[in-house]
Symmetry: C2
Subunit: 481 residues, 2 copies
């Protein structure tokens, strides 16, 4: 009987021990698998110094608290909803306040005319000599010392004058502001939102093609990005002709020089700002001859103002424009001289022409790819992008606002981060949706899209990537880092 | 001068020829890259026989026409919108009509009580002896030969009687139907839609726990799936106790036998139907002892009715329930005897417990994974799933309706297909959202999610996968194929 009891006890103890060994083994495997995921993710191999480690501890606690809070109480801060529903709450986030102050390196995917918001633009309309052709359907703007001669269904009037005679200046200004933004409560279908977006671009452009206004606009754009701790910008620009009050049109190279001069002035005022470079763009609705001419213009800039030149790109709603393959002869001719930074795969249409722009961007040797939203659907290309270090310029908020994705947690950036693809975060056109220059995109990517485990190393790697994959030369890169 | 002209011509001709050589080279590279993508995608290596090739040609033309049409005219058929906005149009699609008639193999992720729609369930409420406790907030159902004794804030009344005295039978029935579906025009937030979903599940269950009704319900479920060309089903079921009119409760094993008998009867009527197997489920809100008991019950089924048994799973809204890791001791004990088919990663919360259920499902040796929606965020796990042949049970419509994803083109299935992960398509709870048993999921996956280039081989491979990765034994699989 005693032996029996002893054996029984031994049996129970052995069972408990072996169960706990199994459990321990399991947990070891589990932890090492999770750790492997962290190490292989973007930033996972970075070492933090002791100061950074302290900050990281605080940041992680704050982030976990925010994620847990929004998990428990989705009414409070809900990434499944449209950005506009929580945009104005972001500044209350402690994580955001840290990110705001953090150095972010460069913004490599920004359109030059869309860096400042509706309030700023409204202010510009208080300037003298601004005529408008303004009806329910039309809103044209032109600075001029005499009544513009272009067609207008009503008559051209000074905007200041219209405002003066309006019953309600506040309502008048609110209506004007509407033309400078695509802010709206509803998530709209992609074609509708793009139509509104392109209208806003048109109006904004017409306001800032006036030379003195553009000078101010550019300086203030740099200032705003600088205040967001962005130290370097690669601007996509069509480099259209600027005009003077008397109607004089400048040649296009004038704009390049203007960019150069204003940046020089800005750097005198803020010596730690690194600078800007230009990516010359052409609308993808163009014909191949227009593309050739723009490429020639790009060559000219590269020859005459090399320090300002980054490369070439095509712009406009990708689904509606011509695919890269339509311009192959011109692009292949220029390939050895001009660096490409192609928008590609900014689409949900898998297997269609826009989607396959990804293939052409890679085959044409694009230095980076703009958006690359559809890239996860192309594993072969993902492997190439990884191997060759072709950075993906990710603009989460742009993709959300322009209706590619509703819940940002479904943004493919999550996959890119997990795979440690060479990602840079940018903001595309933050002015048009009232985002901060880069801090909103960083915040939402970090708290909304990335893993809960992603920490300071992710943020640091993203900032480092923005220098590493920039068009800066090696000396400039070293100085910047 | 002549030499000059000749040289000039030679130069031009050489330039043209070398440009065309470059272009040809480029196009060769491009085509081979695109072809490589196709070959590596799910189904890409399948050979079609000559009859299939003819069908494929037709199918491809029809599909391309539909995709192009919806690209050009997004108001017509728009995958960026909610499924409910186009659900009733799907039957007009020619591609759908082909898919509807196509053999689809098995449906491996279906909840046993949610296979039939609101119209069918409404019809059941016309049966005798159905009492209801019905107020604005409460809707309870119970078949009984006497007034039920359970609490009811009003009084239990025969539903047929309530209907008889109602002013408007149509409105009365419409109101009843509302309880059996989560159909609604708006996309709702995940927690809200899950609350409605779980309410519907509760009401439906209370209707079909009555033994004779359940017999009919099961037979008719099989019939409906069979008519959709589904030849085999793995049913997830909690195997609750059925009751009789006099209140007698059957033991739970009775339900297993009922499944067996009804399936036998169905196979007599439709001999080409392969059969069903059961995945025993327990709610993930349970405690570990309840899980142990269910696992014991699973062992009993495996022992007593092995041909009906597939394995074990946990159910309920994953984000709100306990993670797998909470049940580790019980699951590790059962691991060698019981096959697991775990729901996991049915979430948008990257790096949180639900997301990490993916890790545990894989480490616990789950034979397949249910949903695996978050899998693309875990490249290491994806590689394991691929290597080990752990099939992913994808339910696109379920994920759309239950608010994980808005635009189905953002569903990770697109990535799974591109990577040739072992995918099986299923429909989860088609009755609750009024979908066809499997044809809607197949159609939307094929036309909405997969590449435009995906063709009959994709569909065929998906059907083959549903047998290959089923719980059928090798003999059964061979017969089925």
């Amino acid at each position: 009987m005693r032996t029996l009891i002893r054996n029984f006890f031994i049996c129970v103890v052995v069972t408990i021990i072996s169960a706990s060994v199994i459990l321990e083994d399991y947990e070891r495997n589990r932890n090492s698998l999770l750790e492997e995921e962290n190490v292989h993710a973007l930033g996972g191999k970075l070492q933090l110094d002791s100061e950074e480690a302290i900050l990281n501890k605080i940041l992680k606690q704050l982030k976990e608290a925010e994620v847990d809070e929004s998990f428990k109480n989705p009414n409070r801060f809900n990434f499944s909803k449209h950005y506009f529903t929580y945009r104005d709450e972001i500044s209350n986030s402690k994580v955001y306040q840290i990110i705001k102050r953090m150095p972010k390196g460069g913004a490599l995917h920004v359109h030059g005319t869309l860096m400042l918001g509706a309030d700023y633009l409204l202010n510009l309309t208080y300037q003298d000599h601004l005529y408008t052709c303004y009806t329910d359907d039309v809103f044209e703007l032109q600075f001029s010392d005499a009544i513009p001669q272009r067609h207008c269904p009503v008559k051209w009037t000074l905007l200041t004058e219209l405002r003066r005679v309006s019953d309600d200046v506040k309502a008048f200004d609110a209506a004007i502001k509407q033309h400078f933004t695509i802010y709206s409560e509803a998530q709209e279908d992609i074609d509708i939102i793009w139509e509104r977006f392109e209208k806003a671009c048109y109006v904004i452009k017409s306001l800032i093609l006036y030379r003195p206004v553009r000078e101010k606009f550019l300086y203030d754009s740099l200032k705003r990005f600088y205040n967001d701790n962005v130290m370097y910008i690669e601007l996509r620009s069509g480099l259209h002709s600027l005009y003077e009050l008397d109607g004089t049109q400048h040649e296009r190279m004038y704009m390049v020089k203007l960019y150069q001069n204003i940046t020089k002035k800005f750097k005198q005022d803020y010596p730690d700002f690194i600078g800007i470079k230009l990516i010359v763009t052409k609308h993808r609705g163009s014909d191949i001859e227009q593309i050739r001419q723009t490429l020639d213009f790009a060559r000219q800039i590269k020859r005459e103002v090399p320090e300002m030149f980054a490369g070439f790109d095509l712009v406009g709603q990708e689904d509606k424009g011509k695919p890269l393959v339509d311009f192959l002869p011109a692009l292949l001719e220029a390939k050895e001289e001009i660096n490409f930074y192609f928008h590609c795969g900014e689409t949900n249409w898998f297997g269609m022409a826009t989607d396959e722009n990804l293939v052409d961007a890679v085959l044409l040797g694009s230095k980076r790819i703009g958006h690359g939203y559809a890239l996860t659907k192309h594993p072969t290309l993902m492997a190439t992008v990884y191997k060759k270090g072709i950075a993906v310029e990710v603009n989460v908020l742009s993709n959300a606002v322009l209706s590619l994705v509703h819940d940002v947690r479904n943004h493919p950036l999550a996959v890119f981060l997990a795979l440690d693809l060479p990602v840079v975060l940018s903001s595309d056109d933050p002015g048009v949706w009232g985002a901060e220059p880069l801090a909103h995109d960083f915040y939402i990517s970090f708290v909304g899209v990335a893993s809960k485990h992603a920490d300071l190393r992710t943020l640091k790697q993203l900032a480092l990537n923005s220098i590493k994959y920039s068009a800066l030369d090696n000396n400039e890169k070293e100085r910047s880092l």
